[in-house]
Symmetry: C3
Subunit: 347 residues, 3 copies
């Protein structure tokens, strides 16, 4: 993880690029490379703070800041009116977490250990929740796809807000569940056994600085999307569903793979499934609410996104139901991800 910090050098480079007007594709790449270590630092700072705040608030901070990078990038995309990019990146994050993160973890871990067992009991609550959450997202979409669209346009907005409120209330209830009524279900995090490396002051400073710079770089990234898609011949949808999720989740991805290599497959799967869950129950409704500041965004995803989401969730449920993983399972998840990516790239 340390070596990722070297990428921080892309912060000044991208700043220079902004002033001397580099090409959009170059600016997209530079700001993407700058965001990756910043997201990592934000995660580290949050964890350090949780040493001082105690496990309850720490757990809450981890849960809330875990997808802060995606949230910030999406906020700027929302502001720029790139609704398709925002929704594609939501779907892409879930798909990427399940297929890419889990696939890479299982492949890497499986090349070191023949089979890796994990406690499926603890995963079942989350993978069930993920299934229910995605179904909650599909229902209004199928409903609006079935009904003639002209009749509906005006009701989209109200329906989206109601669904977002319901999703967000499930999120709040799940925090209540995991921090109060059923906190014993969630075993103590392995990483918390160690001592804090930073002082509280340092940790807070790093968190603030990382957030500010992620905001800045996200603005560069998002404003490069439209001209870049024209320059490089990519679709905005491809950028949203494949590239942005990889940038936003790179730090988490490497943590999951490292955990798999330490034979802590429980933690790797927990990262992938927990993160997917937060994107649907926390990031998505928050973005719907924030969109009301600019122009209301509907919660209705397109057919392809819904199918890919549902099928990914079936895979997550199947995988977590198995209780053990091997390299072939990882290879197959990556193969399915590759098929998705290629399908879009070919377009």
């Amino acid at each position: 993880m340390k070596f990722l910090r070297l990428l921080l050098v892309f912060i000044p480079i991208s700043l220079i690029g902004e002033f001397v007007h580099f090409s959009p594709t170059l600016m997209f790449i530079l700001s993407a490379l700058a965001i990756i270590p910043l997201a990592g630092l934000m995660g580290e700072a949050t964890e350090e703070i949780s040493f001082y705040s105690g496990p309850r608030i720490g757990g809450f901070l981890n849960a809330t800041f875990g997808n802060a990078t995606e949230l910030i990038i999406s906020f700027f995309a929302l502001k720029a009116g790139l609704f398709e990019v925002v929704k594609a990146s939501i779907s892409g994050s879930v798909i990427g977490n399940i297929l890419l993160v889990l696939g890479a973890s299982m492949l890497a871990g499986g090349m070191k250990y023949k089979t890796q067992a994990f406690n499926k009991q603890a995963l079942e609550v989350n993978s069930s929740m993920l299934l229910f959450a995605v179904i909650g997202l599909i229902i209004p979409a199928v409903f609006t796809h079935t009904v003639s669209p002209e009749l509906l346009n005006k009701q989209y907005e109200g329906l989206s807000i109601i669904v977002a409120v319901i999703m967000f209330s499930i999120y709040l209830m799940s925090l209540f569940f995991s921090f109060y009524t059923h906190k014993d279900l969630y075993s103590v995090d392995h990483r918390e056994e160690s001592k804090p490396k930073w002082s509280l002051k340092t940790a807070v400073l790093v968190l603030v600085a990382a957030t500010v710079f992620i905001g800045l770089e996200s603005e560069f990234l998002v404003s490069a999307v439209e001209p870049m898609t024209k320059e490089a011949g990519l679709s905005e949808f491809f950028v949203g569903i494949i590239l942005i999720p990889i940038i936003g989740n790179a730090a988490e991805h490497s943590t999951a793979v490292l955990m798999a290599l330490k034979n802590e497959m429980d933690v790797a799967i927990e990262i992938a499934i927990g993160s997917s869950l937060q994107i649907i129950l926390f990031v998505t409704p928050v973005l719907i609410f924030l969109s009301l500041l600019f122009k209301p965004m509907s919660i209705i995803f397109n057919e392809f996104e819904l199918v890919a989401l549902l099928l990914s969730v079936f895979i997550a449920n199947r995988v977590s139901n198995d209780g053990e993983s091997n390299w072939l399972e990882g290879f197959q998840l990556l193969a399915v991800y590759l098929i998705i990516a290629v399908s879009f790239f070919v377009l």
Copy 2:
């Protein structure tokens, strides 16, 4: 359950309403309130009779009369040519049983007990059957939605009857399975341990009277549907998929919640899944057969109904596979149900 009997007062009120021509919305509400305790009485009477008839015939009676209320309401809707209402109420019964009944049971039970374990072995036969039955229902629908509809209209009728015959034969085989070849799989019903409260004569009289009055009130209810939808601005589909199933299943709903509160989650889940199964394998084919008396109804459900059915069945399978439930799981099932209901109401 006893307090529901107070609602019997709505029988005379609805009779008066019919003669003095109350508004359709009021008549719908009055007859709905009258049906709820009648359905409860019918269930009680069937159970009482089974004390005298022995477990085998008793089980058969329970299985057959369990959804008699839905069957009677649907019969009158069929006679009135309200095919969309009939099919919506079939789908709505299954969705409501899985999401509303199971959700309410798990939430209520989970607020009293931290986790409620249940024997998943016994549930697996039924939840598998439910999956297979819904798939059997989806296949001809997808087939007809794929093929150009003009070519098909004339073959709908024959196909529907054949599918209904196959479904009904699965129902008969499942009775043979549970009462002959594998009767030991089904543990003795907890409620049968007690003694009969009524004489056989009373029980038969109550059963006959309840059936007659349900028939009468169903006729009031159904003839109020069309004018009410215009008066209250509701869609017939909303009435069919949300309101009618709640009315028809209210008695069963309260039994399931009571069982969950007594920590008998097995029985609560069995009610929800068993009832769903009977609706697809028994009520649906019987309605197709009965429709031949008036105008043949096709067995082809619309896209939304099929998606909602299949997703509900996935949830039922996931839930029964877990082996235990908690309040958060219940909350989520209710949230998914709420999203479905809101989607229709907004329209």
Copy 3:
């Protein structure tokens, strides 16, 4: 199995039929009847060879020749440009293996034994793989069905080849998995305990002769398809999805049922799921590659095929997750198959 050899008499009869120009329907039936025992002989010869080659090469031969009959029939259909028949027979083979073979095995076995337990551990790797493989097939199809088709036609070809390469690489990896890294997972085949009946020379001769005659009869069969569909009023799709898979898999079908009757349900399920897996990961990509010799075939299946495939795979996963089977489960699988077959026949 021996009695199937009597059907070899249809080889000379079909040859005579070809010269004296029998009607297409008769030629279809004659060549179908000739293929059934030839496919059985091919399977027996492959098994005999594996006695001499050792388990590793033997396993590979079994895996590769297991679906040789389907591959040969499809090759001639491909050459004749009957793409819809080829793709329908791919889907039909998977659906038939899961619903018809598994259903018949469970029904037959379940009539002899009350419940038949099987080791679900060993099945889970394959049934997970089947789920992932079918999802890999669905993704590009949903993608192309969502996007406007005019834009895509030119990119179909490239996308199909890439997806076929990915599928085939999963196949190769799975061979590596089962013959090298995790060979202990796959218990020794029960049938290998016996001694070879044939000399190696005989076995090789039988294999070559069977392959040659299957090729010949497949050519008769395929060239009868188009005129027969007109003569008998069947759709080509019905021939592809129902009839051809039954012909190509008849030998395997009877082996699975025999195994179920010997209470070796593990082997019966392994045949059905393993064969489905090979069709998707080996037969399908090979046919895509072979089609480049004539006219490129796309890997995009129609909506009905995809839904039927996915639902069949859910059933396979559910069944293998249970750990035991009974006659009612078999009856239901056959009922779902019957609904599919009737849906097409009615057309």
